[in-house]
């Protein structure tokens, strides 16, 4: 599939951006015990929330990155004009955002968990909640990034637009991990994921058409 291949090639040829996301996450988690307290009891209680918030911020920081290039060099126009379904392209963009910004963070989450004195079972539930929750973040971030393309200082506006939508997955994800798998939160999070998967790429495609028509 040519569309996926292109996205992967671009990601592989810009490792600096992935490293940047990763460094951000590691630094926050490394600095946190130094600034608050090294007491493992307290860190253990804060760990799930902290790692979730770091993941959410990393996701936001990377939101515009993968879209701005396509917008400025005119590729977005050609995407809209082409015969390939635009929602599929938007879905692939979201997947690319997840692969480059969130997957690396997910991979080192066990390490971050150990730095914050988490128990192995707590780390497993945290990973499960992130696996289910981060795709929602990516889908929303690509929608928000698309909305603010071409606006001066669009980043701040994007934060305001996106925040209310990113809070539900944050609450459900952290609750699910902290209750170590209470089914209620898990079902809601999974439901939110499938709803986002079905609707957000279509919404992003509509926004893309508006963006190129300006």
């Amino acid at each position: 599939m040519g569309l996926v291949l292109r996205e992967l090639r671009i990601l592989l040829r810009s490792p600096a951006e992935t490293v940047q996301s990763l460094m951000f996450g590691v630094l926050v988690v490394a600095l946190f015990p130094l600034a608050i307290t090294p007491d493992p009891e307290i860190l253990r209680q804060l760990a799930v929330g902290l790692i979730w918030v770091v993941t959410l911020l990393t996701s936001l920081l990377a939101a515009e990155r993968s879209l701005v290039g396509d917008f400025e060099d005119g590729t977005l126009e050609q995407m809209v004009l082409g015969i390939q379904p635009l929602w599929l392209i938007c879905l692939i963009k979201s997947a690319g955002h997840w692969l480059s910004a969130l997957l690396p963070l997910l991979l080192i989450t066990p390490l971050l968990g150990l730095m914050l004195a988490m128990t192995p079972s707590a780390i497993l539930w945290l990973l499960a909640s992130l696996l289910l929750g981060t795709p929602i973040l990516s889908l929303f971030c690509i929608l928000g990034g698309m909305m603010t393309l071409g606006l001066n200082r669009g980043g701040a506006l994007m934060l305001v637009i996106l925040m209310p939508f990113l809070v539900p997955p944050l609450i459900l994800g952290t609750q699910w991990a902290m209750t170590e798998g209470q089914a209620f939160y898990g079902y809601l999070l999974a439901g939110l994921l499938s709803l986002s998967l079905m609707t957000l790429p279509i919404a992003t495609a509509t926004v893309a058409r508006i963006v190129v028509s300006r």
Binding site: R6, R9, D73, G82
Partner: protein, 194 residues
Amino acid sequence: MLQAESLSCYRQERWLFRNLDFHVLPGQVLQITGDNGSGKSTLFRVLAGLSDDYDGQIDWQVPSCVFLSHRFGLNARLTAFENLTFWMTLQGESRDESEVFQALAQLDLSAQAHQPCGQMSEGQRKRVALARLILATAPLWLLDEAFSALDQSGRDRLSTICRNHIERGGALVFSSHQAVEQMTVDQTLQLGRT
């Protein structure tokens, strides 16, 4: 192939163009002239179907068109070859790799086929964008400022490509500040004198 009736566009409290009527038939060339800021690019975006902020009617009698704007749509990290194959995927064209290399060779880009577009000069990137025309099968071409920023041999090659397209029954709409001596133009539309 393309018919516009009383086409008007109002932007920033002035009319960019008003009541344009034109009709492009298969095998015809329409040149759009006008000064900077006279609305040429806006007209192209309307004709390409990217913008629906206009009055009047456009009748596209073709399923698809090729639109090349001043933004080339080339990713700086991908090579010329990769950018072209991606564009063909978008357009639903299926061609062999050898045909892509031939298209690049026709525009003197054989040596740059596997070079990332970010490392090319402006003129070379323009040629990569124009190589799409050789690979395209859409009957209607909309070329915004395609002849600018090209050297003499580049202009010759582009006009040859365009003439081949016209001889096959295709239609062409292009814009240019100055006359393009190599092209026979059927109609001219001047913007900015309203």
